[in-house]
Amino acid sequence: MHSNGPFWDRLAEFGDSAALLDARGSVVTYAALAGAARKFADALGPRRRLVFLETCNRTEALAAYLGCLLGRHAVYLYSEADRHKALSLAERYQPNVIVDFAAGGPQLNWRHLDTVDLHHELCLLMSTSGSTGSAKLVKLSRQNIQSNADSIVEYLQLSGSERAITLLRPHYSYGLSVINSHLSCGASLLLTERSVTDRAFWESFRARGCTSFAGVPYTYETLARMDFAFSDFPGFRYATQAGGRLAPDLVRRFARSAAECGGRFYVMYGQTEAAPRMAYLPPKLAADHPGCIGIAIPYGTILLLDEDGREVRETDRPGQIAYRGPNVMMGYAENRAGLATDETPHVLLTGDIACRNGAGLLYIVGRAARFVKLFGARINLDDVEADLRQAQLDCACAGNDEAIVVALSNSPAADCDAAAERLSKKYGLPRFAVHVAAFDEIPKLANGKPDYQTILASRPAGRVGPKVNHGPGTLSAFFGIVLSRPYYREVLSEAGAILGVKRHDWAGVGEIYRKLTGRTQITANDTFTTLGGDSLGYVQMSIALEEYLGRLPAGWEHMTVLELEESKVHESLF
């Protein structure tokens, strides 16, 4: 955390510098903002409160947010559009107070006057994009917020002379990070609720001397259609993009456009669980590596982990992105009791699969959840979609470990059969394991993303192939294994290793856990105890680990797969 404390405690230090501006020309100085925040904190009282705060890009709302931080309350941010969902969450979390701005100024609707058991570090609760409609909230600490703001200030080279326009909403972690990072370094924000398609947005940008803006892929796709150029704005210094993948040609285009006028274009990567920033692509590399998310932010580390939880160091080999840094969340809360605990994970497993290229830059190849394992082969559903799109088919692809299910938009039966045949051949799958169905339109969720659950459900239940073709894990697979020759060779090899006749070459901790527990899936965060280990299995496990690691670390039973692997690395280093 910043050596002088979090930024919300230091707002007054920037005195009469402009903190917030609006399109009409009114200016709120840091001193005034600090005063308004203090006033709001006082209104909540001296006891720590759980606050549900409806936010928007208005001075009162931001002062209320800062007041919650200042008063060490825990605040959940939501937008007016999410009011219904927030009220439903309020039933579960029973906040002390719900604050909205429907009447102009802040309205404090007191709900429960009891003391909520809040962890002393907890200060912010946010929904994740993946948990829309769920009661799961990300818990963020003071350190999470401040350290991420510090990192952003450093790599974006922010100073007090910067002025960003607030295109994104504060309840969205990306939008909030723009606010936090700018207020952290004495920079200013132009508050607006307008969109980039609104001429007045850009007029304000120019007239109020803005230097930057932050957008999601949709923002830049829209700007591309508008023939937007950064050079039209003399004060422009940099723009950032996060919140999803922007097509490489657009990255290249905006990177060049920014460079032409001496500006910078940043592609960034993050998740709410990391408050939210984890990686960025240095602007000078954007034009040459437009498909990359870049490198870890200052104070953070990114590892790629394979299925066994071992670090992938080779170039262009995929692994799940695991992030470590002071901005990793305190875990999730699913109810009021969950607000009292700190379950900061050792590493944050993002669920994104990425590779490192020759220049040491990360590029995402898919989501872990978008990989299925069929008949021993790992298949990336995004690749399947790309294959079909090459054949000019509008599609979305879902799947599980039984089959791939493809939804084709407005296609005749012949196209469906041809697509199924094509995939069956390409991936070496039996025809019954590929189901292609025609839809009038690809089913979509409210956020515009394909509705993979509906697509998956379109596969007729019980549609499976002949028994012999079942994948691993079924009875036929069992006999397939125990009646195979390699099995008996493996049995002899294992027996030899147990008796000490031959050396046991363990590939990693993940392999040991998988082999001795019989589980097929072991994650980097699994421990012996979380895998249900007991005194009947611990001797085998401890001996195998000692064989692999060279020594058994104290408390190994509570160490994660990753920590055990790291202990081996440390042992070899020192």
Partner: protein, 342 residues
């Protein structure tokens, strides 16, 4: 190549305990006097308690502990039932399925599997206790005090129950009479754990010894070999983390420790077959002391069933590990799918 390997204290104790158990049974099958060699199971039960506290109660709550106890009981019961079924298919009996064989007819199939059955029943009882809203919550407020309180109650049951219900005909092999032995492991684990007992080391070591001796005296009495085995094992566990042994003995210790449960359950099968094969009958103690043949018979009855049991465990472990390996490699899928992958 390394000349020595390190073996941790609890692995060594586990190995020695199971060797003692099998030796005790070997002597029992040849000579009448077995009182000198008892004590292996009491050490195993204490170690079981310690390990359960280590893996199932640290960083856990009552709900998880209750579930773990039930799963542990399930594994023991299944293994025990499987062995009994193997030997008694021609004369299936409902007692077998109820895991209460030791309650009804001790020598029903001449398989003395009481340890696994008693431990399973104890775990079920404790799981019920932890499932009670107040019981589990009170225990996890302070696992140390909870363990000590449970130990006192279990020792009281051990001391009083035989006066009310004479169970000598079934050798007292009942869960409520061995509960103290399992809970003793919990108490010792939490007493020596710095976080659970934030006291100076001397205080913690002294308390462990005191609890160990007091429990052993009440549970067994100082005139039994079980008491001295328990005490020796406890002191050894307290005194050292592990020992360095030459590679081959270390490997043997590791294997027997890993195979302890299988050796316990299976060695009787081989022991009984050997006894039938050679027509051995128990001999009076005087002859046992003097006859070399008897000594040889004891050694054979000890070593052969143990090695056969170890072979069973190695077979089970290697087949299971090989299955996991091949499963993770996708073998078992149709050949064309495997080819496509490669």
């Amino acid at each position: 190549m390394k000349a020595c390997s390190r073996v941790s204290a609890d692995v060594l104790l586990r190995s020695l305990a199971i060797l003692l158990v099998t030796f005790h049974h070997a002597v029992g099958s040849v000579a009448l006097a077995t009182a000198w060699f008892g004590g292996g199971t009491t050490v195993l039960m204490m170690l079981s308690g310690m390990n359960f506290a280590k893996f199932g109660m640290q960083q856990a709550d009552s709900k998880h502990t209750s579930g773990r106890l039930l799963r542990f009981a399930g594994k023991l019961a299944l293994a025990s039932i499987a062995v009994v079924l193997l030997m008694t298919v021609p004369m299936l009996h409902s007692h077998t399925f109820a895991v209460v064989q030791n309650f009804v007819v001790f020598a029903f199939v001449h398989l003395h599997l009481w340890y696994a059955q008693v431990l399973a029943l104890m775990c079920i009882g404790l799981a019920i206790l932890f499932a009670l809203p107040r019981g589990g919550h009170a225990f996890f407020k302070s696992p140390l005090i909870g363990s000590l309180a449970l130990l006192v109650i279990a020792l009281a049951i051990r001391a009083v129950c035989p006066l009310i219900w004479d169970t000598s005909a079934i050798f007292h092999r009942l869960p409520h009479l061995f509960l103290w032995n399992f809970i003793l492991g919990w108490a010792l684990f939490f007493l020596i754990d710095k976080e659970a007992t934030p006291r100076p080391a001397a205080w913690r070591y002294g308390a462990v010894l005191l609890v160990l001796v007091a429990s052993g005296m009440i549970g067994w009495g100082v005139q039994t070999s079980d008491f001295w085995c328990l005490l020796a094992a406890g002191v050894f566990w307290l005194a050292c983390d592990g020992v360095r042994l030459p590679v081959l003995p270390a490997r043997f210790v590791n294997i027997t420790a890993q195979a302890a449960l299988v050796i316990y359950l299976v060695h009787w099968v081989f022991l009984l077959q050997l006894a039938r094969l050679f027509g051995l009958a128990p001999v009076p103690i005087e002859q046992f002391r003097l006859t070399i043949l008897t000594v040889v018979a004891v050694l054979v009855m000890w070593v052969v069933p143990m090695l056969m049991s170890i072979a069973c465990w190695v077979a089970m472990a290697s087949t299971s590990r090989a299955y996991s390996t091949l499963k993770s490699r996708g073998i078992g899928a149709p050949q064309w799918a495997v080819k496509a992958k490669t």
